[in-house]
Symmetry: C2
Subunit: 469 residues, 2 copies
């Protein structure tokens, strides 16, 4: 097989690739609104079959999953490509320059809901597989595909699905393309996500508001309860004081430190994007805090009367909403228990409740994992640029399902332009970045196959099950 | 002069007294809405003149003040009776059983807005003066009257008015009847009010909300700033940690301790009125905290997103609204400066702003002030019941203007039934309590005159000015 012919095939079939993407974008698939999901899953499975991939729509209790597979050799390296075919709601419609589900080319970009997030990126893997099948004698690794239909709704069924189909999804590595490149256009490799645990603290004083003059001093004030509980949880510098909170946090190694120092940083420009005059720290500190350190956030606090004028009451109730951003090897269950134990000890009148946006575990592939260098080299080969290696995204995605359930590490390489407007009106995907993406996928397949045959890819033992193919 | 004849006169003129009160209640005088104020002031001045009192309506920048005077002897004791002729808005009108400005008798009570708060109480002083003038040869003390028209709007002009008319208002004691008797019907004497200082703390992080995943750890969170500032202001037991906060608080003396122990207390019944299963302290502690100790309250706290669902943001701003309930000899100015100095020291990013409901100084007439026993004896003589002596009301009123500007102490003796429904629909005044009130005023005039002539009333030096009549 020849990767040169594969890349030439991709170049020669740009229009067909664009047609496939436009077909997919034309089909609405709004998971939040339940619009077009089944039709899109069926369409996508058909597109996989058109590419020569065995594909199936698997119904679930929530949104159906599209699975695909190209098996080369049971003994060969297996790559599982993950993506999601559902899209964000397109509203507000009046801000779109062309209708969200009528894919339209302007200035070298395809506009339409889902072009970048995530249809254009997941289909790049499919089109790369097709190029290998049609021009390269078949892909150099076993390929599996899992495209879910509810990522924009928080992937509520993904973990259960992966657990139920563990055997079928078994892989050595999970490959994900989502999100955008660096604003400069430079490529990016992302190795993980922080986890998230939502917690609400509720303090109850009397069962009604009381007059703060007539009763001030004899009725418990729930805001003071929360203030004193919170002040014992995190100190003024942000250090968490909860017993054992940092027990499982990995120390930052030399490889990580070196990578942090190579990341883009500009205290004034970064500050501007956040609404600060400047970020009062250096680059490695900035990135270490986002990528490798947990953060305890308060995202909402309400008590008493906060409207116009004043009300001199002792409020009956106070509520504090928190999100805990966790890093490997913390777990949401462990931290929830530690938070609860802490609060009970400090003030048992304060309730600790898990919060609705769910718990996602932290996950991070080590930067010295041998596949990272292989993928980086493949990206470099296509783009001619050095990728930024993000040790971890600060935000949370359900990426922990791969190591925790499949025992497979994961690497993300976004293909979309940084200004893709995902989740916003006028979502778009640069055509050049789209075609590049197909090349990157094809090259990643090649490079992983080659490295595996050379024995360069250590395969990690399964964490939940020990059996392998 | 004979007090027996005076009391008989009062008993013989109940119907006329009731007519005078009904005339006054029939005239709306809603300061918040600016309804009927001038007409009511003129009507009231006329009623004073009908009683034989020299009276005048004095315009001010806000609501006019009605002044009256009966001078007996320049060398005699001078009592200044304070009240307010303005009333609360009557809404919601549909809950009134008879129209608020059509005084109506039902079941021994006069119903109408302002019957108890405060027209029925202030006119009792006027009718007592009339009784002394017509049946007693003139009142046994010099009498002055000040009835303001904006108490229900927070008395914004009272201090300035009193300062501007200090000479004319000069008095040895200020006598006030407002509020209700003990629920048992027992009389009450109240010697002061806690002060109030409103403060808002505002913490600003970035100038916009940020994503708590993408930026958690590098953007300052204003809720955490407030938590750490607040936790250094007051400890978990309620003890205030601000430097010098307690410097001017008077120690609790033996007389006060004894009076605290004599006050009504029932932990379960009191808890029920506040929405607690029971009040977890003993009676003297309960009353000491409300009457003799300052309290730092948080009446409102808002930050971030607190609606349905969740928003994982680092809020840009957090606001905490506080009211400081102060006791003599704290001052609002002193405490505001101490709060500001404390916050600046702990976290200069947090702003300290004075809050709209204004500052009222604490004020408290000592329970061993010789006039207290005289008034208590007068109350006992009329009612045949031992009065509860409240060292201080927990709530705030502008009573500090009397000692601070006039150098005159003040004593309050409420005349209304406890269920007068002041500020609510179906406000009412028990006719028996109304007639009792006229007797109490008449007896207080008598008793103070007699005690003064016996040399039993120490007169205190002026605090702002030294000159006396």
């Amino acid at each position: 097989m020849s990767s040169e012919r594969v890349h030439r095939y991709i170049d020669d079939h740009r229009d067909e690739a664009l047609d496939v993407l436009a077909t997919l974008v034309r089909q609405p698939s709004i998971s939040a609104q339940g619009v077009g999901i089944e039709a899109c899953a069926a369409l996508l499975a058909g597109l996989l079959r058109d590419a020569g991939i065995a594909a199936e729509v698997v119904p679930t209790a929530t949104r159906p999953v599209v699975l695909g597979e190209v098996r080369r050799d049971p003994a060969a390296y297996t790559l599982l490509c993950y993506g999601h075919y559902d899209v964000q709601p397109p509203e507000p419609l009046e801000l779109w320059e062309s209708p969200p589900f009528e894919p339209t080319i302007r200035d070298g970009r395809l506009y339409g809901r889902g072009t970048g997030d995530n249809k254009g990126q997941l289909i790049a893997h499919v089109l790369a597989a097709r190029a290998w099948l049609e021009a390269g004698g078949g892909p150099p690794v076993n390929l599996k595909f899992i495209f879910e239909g509810e990522e924009e709704s928080g992937s509520p069924g993904l973990a259960a699905f992966v657990r139920a189909h563990r055997e079928r999804l078994a892989a050595d590595l999970v490959y994900i393309s989502d999100g955008g490149l660096h604003p400069s256009g430079a490529p990016v490799i992302t190795l993980g996500n922080r986890g998230i645990l939502g917690v609400t603290l509720v303090a109850q004083g009397a069962d009604r508001d009381n007059h703060s003059g007539n009763k001030g001093g004899v009725v418990p004030n729930p805001v003071w309860m929360l203030v004193h509980v919170l002040a014992t949880m995190v100190d003024a510098s942000g250090r968490v004081l909860i017993d054992g909170f940092y027990d499982r946090v990995r120390p930052v190694g030399a490889v990580e430190e070196a990578l942090l120092g190579r990341l883009d940083f500009d205290p004034v420009a970064f500050g501007r994007t956040m609404g600060l005059p400047e970020v009062p720290m250096d680059g490695p500190t900035y990135w270490r805090r986002i990528m490798l350190e947990p953060y305890v956030n308060i995202n909402g606090f309400i008590s008493g009367y906060v409207g116009p004028g004043s009300k001199t009451i002792i409020p009956s109730k106070a509520e504090c909403r928190m999100d805990f951003r966790l890093v490997v090897d913390q777990t949401t269950e462990e931290i929830f228990e530690k938070v609860r134990a802490h609060v009970v000890r400090v003030d048992p009148r304060v309730q600790v409740l898990p919060r609705g946006f769910g718990a996602m575990e932290p996950s991070r592939t080590p930067p010295d994992h041998p596949a990272v260098a292989v993928v980086a080299q493949a990206v470099r080969a296509v783009r001619g640029l050095e990728p930024y290696v993000n040790l971890c995204a600060g935000g949370s995605l359900p990426s922990a399902v791969w190591p925790r359930i499949l025992g497979a590490d994961h690497i993300s390489v976004p293909y979309a332009n940084a200004d893709e407007n995902n989740h916003s009106p006028n979502e778009n995907l640069s055509l050049e970045r789209f075609y590049d993406g197909i090349h990157v996928s094809a090259e990643v397949f090649r490079a992983l196959g080659e490295a595996d045959r050379a024995g360069a890819l250590r395969r990690r033992p399964r964490t939940e099950r020990g059996d392998r193919r």
